[in-house]
């Protein structure tokens, strides 16, 4: 059954390419992605690990093998939930060739699902790239003014990263006595310390670019700003999770020694990234860039918490992976709605929207509070657990990034004030409430924010087995 997670988006994508009519392709996409979502929910309710294995490249000992454990379930649900939300909330956006847009989005979805499900390293690499290529085409075709160079930079960055990972995979593969691409065989490979160090970097650079971790983040704000908003939502909501997921799934279990060697280094880089991104976010005038930098800060914290190697911190990462995905998509939806209404994304040109669009303002307020990770919102519990983990690792590793919580409040509330309060400007004078589809999706997200903020237990329970299995 779990093969359907990949097959349905793939088939839906191929069908979308041939549905030329704007309305029907949009309706079709929402229905198809909703079906996948229901399927993932159903699979999540099964208690045991689901898996599938078909022979693919017998000579290389590589199989088309997928498996669904707790962490995969959580991320598959996130992926499958994001796409219908994204499609519904941006239903009023216009594209020159909607069939290509939705077709490529579905291919991205198939790639993402594959990444989270693959139980074979070569297959994982395949899907890792498959998720990237459609995004390149979408962003270069439908993005902003500087889309071509910016998207290309994004592509080259991630492509170099994934090729380095490929070298790492080959190296590990040839260290095995009986060559096998299954993930289990990679786990059983106990390399000597100095070998681990080298291959650790081949893998980790690829994942650090994807997350992104300072100083490999430079592609990200540009790419988020220039991509069309639906793609940005997927990029920041789901795709960055690929890096975190792969770090948990591959780097920590395969290179335990190297992870201990370099945990200081990675945590220091992450903490620098958190503070640096938060400080830059304060100065941003473009909503999209502001959210992009805020996202770097959040991801940096998750990466640091992974490398603290504390169980409690990892539980925080699991919760936060899901919640950050939901929250950031919510923020983008508001940003998209405001851009559609006023035709600008500049904070300096906005103001007074709270009078014109009170519902949007309320929703955005809740989302902003979640971004600051106030108690009662879903982000609080995740950040609390992560700081707890970092605190156990080293007191300074927790105290310094705590400053960022203040900075988040500064730029989030600042942006809130500039956009929604004060005098109306030329741009916002004729603005009104966003469409009903936008409001419904925002309502769903706000509900999730509060429900998961009060009762995070389901996610904790879902991912407990993965945390235990990997951290032992």
């Amino acid at each position: 059954m779990i093969a359907l997670f990949i097959i349905i988006p793939l088939v839906a994508g191929l069908i979308s390419f041939f549905v030329k009519d704007d309305k029907s392709v949009k309706g079709f996409s929402i229905v198809a992605s909703a079906i996948v979502f229901l399927l993932t929910l159903y699979a999540t309710s099964c208690n045991h690990t689901l898996s599938v294995s078909l022979p693919w490249l017998p000579q290389l000992n590589s199989n088309f093998s997928l498996s669904l454990d707790g962490m995969s379930k959580m991320l598959c649900v996130l992926t499958a939930l994001s796409f219908p939300l994204v499609f519904t909330s941006t239903i009023d956006n216009h594209y020159s060739k909607p069939n290509n847009f939705y077709g490529l989005m579905f291919l991205t979805m198939a790639g993402l699902m594959g990444v989270f499900l693959a139980n074979d390293v070569l297959l994982f690499y395949f899907f890792w790239e498959l998720a990237l290529i459609p995004v390149y085409f979408i962003s270069s075709q439908y993005g902003g003014e500087r889309r071509i160079p910016v998207t290309f930079k994004f592509f080259v960055y991630t492509f170099i990263g994934s090729l380095l990972m490929l070298v790492g995979i080959m190296y590990l593969y040839f260290q095995m006595p009986n060559k096998d691409f299954s993930i289990q065989a990679f786990y059983n490979l106990h390399l000597a310390g100095n070998q681990q160090d080298l291959v650790f970097f081949l893998f980790f650079i690829a994942f650090a670019i994807k997350m992104p971790i300072f100083p490999l983040h430079t592609w990200q704000p540009d790419a988020y700003e220039q991509s069309p908003t639906p793609t940005t939502m997927i990029l920041s909501g789901v795709m960055v999770k690929m890096g975190l997921y792969a770090t948990i799934r591959f780097v920590v279990p395969i290179f335990p020694e190297a992870v201990k060697h370099f945990s200081h280094l990675v945590i220091i880089l992450s903490v620098i990234g958190i503070l640096y991104a938060s400080l830059i976010a304060i100065k941003q005038d473009d909503i999209k860039r502001l959210i992009a930098y805020s996202s770097i800060a959040h991801i940096g914290l998750m990466c640091a918490a992974i490398f603290s190697l504390q169980e409690i911190g990892w539980q925080g990462v699991m919760i936060q992976m899901f919640n950050h995905g939901i929250n950031v998509i919510g923020l983008w939806i508001v940003a998209n709605a405001i851009e559609q209404q006023t035709g600008t994304r500049k904070l300096s040109e906005l103001g007074g929207l709270a009078i014109k669009a009170p519902v949007l303002a309320t929703m955005f307020m809740i989302m902003t509070l979640a971004n600051i990770s106030l108690p009662l919102t879903n982000a609080f519990i995740g950040e609390f657990l992560m700081f707890n983990g970092l605190f156990r690792y080293n007191i300074w590793a927790a105290v310094i990034p705590l400053i960022s919580i203040i900075l988040v409040a500064v730029y989030s509330l600042g942006a809130m004030a500039k956009m929604f309060y004060g005098e109306t400007t030329a741009h916002t004078e004729n603005a009104s409430e966003a469409g009903s589809f936008v409001n419904y999706t925002l309502a769903v997200i706000v509900m999730l924010v509060i429900v998961l903020g009060v009762y995070p237990h389901p996610i904790l329970q879902l991912t407990q087995d993965t945390v235990n299995a990997i951290l032992k």
């Binding site: 498959l130 380095l164 080959m170 080298l198």
Partner: protein, 467 residues
């Protein structure tokens, strides 16, 4: 044996066609039928026996690898004729001769897949090359074409001279032409003559496959020759040259009592590592700066040769399989790109602007070919590169070479993607010199689908090597 003799006969038939058959359209039909007979004959030889049984006196020996490569090459040529034969008819007056020359050149390649003697190696290389000198200069009225032809001929004969010198020195040192015997003939005592001879041979073969630092002829010749023939030279001939090279060196690798790396007291890994790095640097870096797609493809073919050289570097089972895949992936993609390019009137990057709007099917196929050349997963190029690089991972102490290889693969994505950007994201109208027919479009799409199929199931190509 079937392929060699039948291709020579087919070449002669094609030549006579020009004298006796006046209808130009019928030449390609004859060539097609001939090639299909050739393919069938070669497959029969692979699975049962040869039609011809001559005493060969150790000059040629046929093995599964060589015969299978013959089949793949014939298939490539059939695809090439299908997509590009109408442009061959437009090049000049003597259409039948062009077909004949291409087929003679094929005959040379078939000798290269089966030689076991330095003299037959030399014959194969020359039979393969001489028709190309003529094809390069076939646009008689074009100065660039003439210049390219002359340049190619002069440089080619110079490298042939080097090869002859090498053969002579090796013979002087070992008293034999047999490639299996020239290794270790004195039980480990290496004479100065042999070492010099080997190095001269390697230099001259590097020239044939346009590996740095013997690549300088490539861009000018590829750029000057008519596009259809550039396509043939950049793909099938390049593969042919590599087969000769691999066979020549693998005779040493197969001697079980000899350490491949140290035959003739030379660190071959190191030499090839240097050649690979130089070829990759030159091919990739120069390709970035090209405005003309045709010239860019010339440099990219040098860069791709750099990856194929990995097969010579590591010389193990993986690299043999990898070379097969690379040959298929590279020739299919390049033939496809050139088939579209040779129909276009403007072969610069700007000429591609807006191709996606006017001809979406061609643009889509072109994207697949370019992605394959860049080595993106889901296309044949990925597994080709994967096999090549993983063959080198097996060699101890050369992980840096593999890392350099992937970095250059990423750089190569830059110039391939520029063509994609022109086609999809820039405004303009692509103008075509020749008409785009329905069968042509379908053929290109089918080729693109083949590239994807090989990319998902590479075993379908490799299985025939064993079964």
């Amino acid at each position: 044996m079937n392929a060699i003799i039948l291709s020579a006969i087919l070449g002669v038939i094609m030549m006579f066609c020009s004298a006796f058959v006046k209808n130009k359209k019928s030449y390609k039909v004859v060539a097609f039928i001939g090639l299909i007979i050739l393919l069938i004959a070669n497959i029969i030889e692979t699975y049962s026996h040869s039609f011809f049984t001559f005493p060969l006196y150790g000059m040629l020996s046929f093995d599964r690898f060589g015969l299978y490569l013959n089949s793949l090459i014939i298939v490539s040529v059939i695809i090439y004729f299908f997509l590009s034969s109408s442009e061959i008819e437009h090049v000049g007056e003597h259409v039948a001769e062009y077909f004949a020359l291409i087929i003679f050149s094929l005959c040379g390649i078939f000798i290269l897949t089966s030689f076991s003697n330095l003299l037959t190696l030399f014959l194969g290389i020359e039979i393969m090359s001489i028709p190309l000198y003529i094809l390069t200069g076939s646009q008689k009225m074009s100065l660039i074409s003439n210049e390219a032809s002359l340049k190619y001929f002069l440089m080619g004969s110079f490298s042939t001279g080097l090869m002859l010198m090498g053969i002579a020195l090796i013979y002087g040192g070992t008293e034999t032409f047999d490639i299996a015997k020239i290794v270790n003939v004195h039980g480990g005592n290496i004479s100065f003559l042999e070492v010099t001879g080997m190095l001269l041979m390697v230099a001259s073969l590097c020239f044939k496959v346009s590996a740095a630092p013997f690549h300088f002829w490539t861009p000018d010749v590829y750029d000057g020759a008519p596009s259809v023939f550039t396509s043939f030279m950049a793909t099938i001939i390049k593969i042919g040259g590599f087969i000769g090279f691999i066979r020549f060196l693998s005779a040493r690798a197969e001697q079980t009592n000899v350490d491949y790396n140290n035959t003739f007291g030379i660190d071959w890994h190191f030499i090839f590592a240097i050649i690979i790095i130089a070829t990759l640097i030159f091919g990739n870096i120069t390709a970035i700066f090209q405005r003309s797609v045709k010239r860019m493809l010339a440099y990219s073919s040098i860069a791709q040769a750099g990856f194929m050289l990995f097969a010579l570097f590591s010389m193990n089972d993986v690299s043999k399989e990898g070379f097969l895949l690379y040959a298929v992936a590279y020739s299919f993609a390049t033939i496809g790109i050139f088939a579209i390019l040779s129909k276009m009137s403007d072969v610069t990057l700007d000429g591609y602007n807006g191709l996606a709007k006017t001809h979406p099917a061609l643009a889509f196929a072109n994207v697949i070919f370019l992605l394959s050349l860049a080595g993106i997963p889901l296309t044949a190029g990925f597994f080709a590169k994967y096999y090549m690089l993983s063959s080198a991972v097996e060699v101890k102490g050369y992980l840096w070479l593999v890392i350099a290889g992937v970095i250059f693969a990423a750089i190569s994505a830059y110039y391939y993607f520029r063509v994609i950007q022109s086609m999809y994201f820039k405004e303009g109208t692509t103008e075509f010199q020749y008409e785009i027919s329905k069968p042509f479009t379908i053929g290109v799409i089918v080729l693109a689908i083949l590239v994807i199929l090989v990319g998902v199931f590479p075993q379908t190509i490799l299985n025939y090597l064993y079964f």
